[in-house]
């Protein structure tokens, strides 16, 4: 189990930032991701694995006014 934005999400072996975002239906290109407080740049979404127990923050980038 991992935490995504404070809510539990079932973890699976081989889960990456990219696969987690896809599963959550987050709009891929405009999101800010942190794992255990560490910022993950977009070019590393495919190669960054999420581990069981990780605390993930995935915040949509908003700029409208």
């Amino acid at each position: 189990m991992i935490q995504v934005n404070g809510k539990p999400m079932i973890w699976s072996e081989g889960m990456t930032v990219a696969s987690m975002l896809k599963e959550k239906n987050y709009i891929y290109a405009k999101i800010v991701v942190k794992i255990n407080g560490v910022f993950i740049p977009v070019e590393k979404y495919e190669s960054t694995f999420i581990h069981d127990g990780d605390d993930v923050k995935a915040i949509h980038m908003l700029a409208g006014g």
Binding site: N5, G6, K7, I27, K30, V32, F39, P41, V42, K57, I59, H60, M61, L62, A63, G64, G65
Partner: protein, 226 residues
Amino acid sequence: MEKRYQRNMKLMTQDEITALKKKRVCVVGCGGLGGYIVEMLSRLGVGTITAIDGDVFDETNLNRQLLSEEALIGSSKAEAAKSRIQKVNSEVEVVAKAVFLRDDNAVALIAGHDVVVDALDNISTRRILEKACSVCGIPLIHGAIAGWYGQVTTIMPGSGVFSKLYPETAEKGIETELGNPAFTPALVASIQVSETLKLLIEKGEPLVGRLLTLNLLDHEYQIFEF
């Protein structure tokens, strides 16, 4: 006790209401967020409000921007803010600046204010504004919206929050895909105004070092610490 501010009592003391009349707040952007913000600040009784926006109303603004009216299409948003404030509270000194905030005018525009409110619609101008607020030592109340989503944080001078919130080359967020309805700016603007008031009368716990995110679709309201 003026009747005008009678219902502000309990929330504020008479001394705080009096102190508020000497405060100066600068609202940068008079669109979706800014329209509601100037409305609420003037009803609270903030002494001086500066409304900055170089844009004019177009038809696409009518779905959400409080200050927009069919008859005002093509008119200055900053001037509309001034006109509205004067109708709501003639005690407020209102300064309309019908210009866009840029690197070369930002410090001059915001200098001398107690609080600056970010009601902008793009990231590059937000970065300019944050830098100018740091130079002037003025707190900045950030708000942004997209579709069902909103966010608010209170940025103290020198804390460099936007570099943590937005990737370096970003200019727009998901609002380009999700649009902007009427209810999201109204809610986010309300929170920005409450943050502004807290700083002005030194009450409560502002969102410093914390980002409040609002998801109205699923009713998820969270606070992220930087």
